[in-house]
């Protein structure tokens, strides 16, 4: 079969760009309907325009999130425009997860290296 033609560094950069476009752009057009889990938990209830839940259903047991925070629900609480806030939150999230995961896996690989060299 054909030999691979893309360098690892280019592959990584292309992948990061795709992820940033998804989280910072495409996500703005994602479905806002309740998801599979939430829709089943809302069975028996009606949701008012204000977002209140009326009736008897499992979802009523759900508490406020323990932390919340400025990035809650993939927005930026201090940015008034929901699209801009959502886009920035998505971009920040991708970069943060990229840095965090790469750092953790680097530490893990380093720990392995250190151990095998010490042995």
């Amino acid at each position: 079969m054909q030999t691979p033609t893309i360098k690892t560094s280019r592959f990584i950069i292309a992948g990061v760009i795709v992820a940033l476009l998804m989280a910072g752009g495409v996500a703005l057009f994602a479905s806002s309907s309740p998801d599979g889990l939430e829709s089943v938990m809302l069975e028996g209830c009606t949701t008012t325009e204000e977002g209140d839940i009326d009736g008897d259903c499992v979802a009523q047991q759900a508490g406020e999130h323990e932390i919340g925070g400025p990035l809650a629900d993939y927005g930026l609480s201090f940015v008034d425009n929901a699209s801009v806030g959502g886009s920035l939150a998505g971009i920040f999230g991708v970069l943060l997860v990229l840095a965090l995961a790469t750092g953790l896996f680097w530490l893990l690989a380093r720990g392995r290296r250190g151990r095998s060299e010490g042995a």
Binding site: T8, A19, G36, V40, D73, Y74, A89, R112
Partner: protein, 235 residues
């Protein structure tokens, strides 16, 4: 609550059950750290980081699966196909932890529950199905696409079954029976699984076309040439 996305919020499953599952999750993730370390070298680190960031981004893209119901990628199948099960579990765990701690997506008390379902169950089930399917299917790109699609569908349904077990132990059905919750959860997650399968098969096929050596599930398969590019660059 409207932006909670397939993640269990706090309050749905009782605290004792949540804590037991948190302990189990910690033990399994710990075992995955030990197992992943064995196969992890420096060349894999940026790829695992990218896969994690990609899964975070993909989880933001809710797609409609029925009238008024959406779903999104879990990512376990993608992580398993690209990186193998142990490293894959770690990728999805990082995503779920960041979502719970920073984005208020999934309760902090429900973190163990969500890690068990979306990281552990989905990744390991996807890996098992992909490996089994590749034994039967031809080791061509088409075979890989089919195997990854099948693994994705089964992984999402298995993850939702994990929730049902947790709900049966520590949840309280209100306004509907446990049986109807079970039927509804499994039904919608078959549809979400098909979405997961389409996205994951497309992503894995795209990687297999450009860099087949980066697809862990292809290791040993005829179309991958694991020593080719990475070895060249390292030299």
């Amino acid at each position: 609550m409207s932006d909670q996305a397939l993640h269990i919020p706090n309050g749905i499953i009782g605290i004792p059950t949540s804590l037991v599952f948190a302990l189990i999750a910690a033990l399994i993730v710990g075992a995955c750290i030990v197992a992943a370390r064995r196969g992890l070298d420096d060349r894999l680190v940026p790829l695992a980081g990218l896969a994690t960031a990609f899964i975070f981004a993909a989880q933001m893209l809710n797609f409609p699966v029925a009238a008024g119901v959406s779903g999104h990628l879990l990512g376990g199948a993608l992580a398993a196909a690209l990186l193998g099960p142990a490293l894959g579990v770690l990728c999805v765990t990082v995503v779920i932890a960041v979502q719970a701690l920073l984005f208020a997506d999934g309760g902090v008390t429900a973190l163990g529950l969500n890690v068990i379902n979306m990281a552990v169950i989905s990744t390991f089930v996807a890996w098992a199905v992909i490996v089994l399917a590749l034994k039967v299917l031809p080791s061509t790109r088409f075979g890989v696409t089919v195997a990854v699609f099948a693994g994705s569908v089964v992984s999402v349904v298995a993850a939702s079954a994990g929730f049902l077990v947790q709900f049966a132990i520590g949840g309280e059905p209100i306004g509907q029976s446990l049986g109807s919750v079970t039927a509804a959860i499994l039904g919608t997650h078959v549809l979400i699984g098909i979405g997961e399968g389409v996205i994951t098969a497309a992503a894995v096929t795209a990687v297999a076309l450009t860099r087949p050596d980066l697809v862990r599930a292809l290791r040993g398969a005829r179309i991958a040439d694991p020593e080719s590019r990475l070895a060249e660059e390292r030299a």
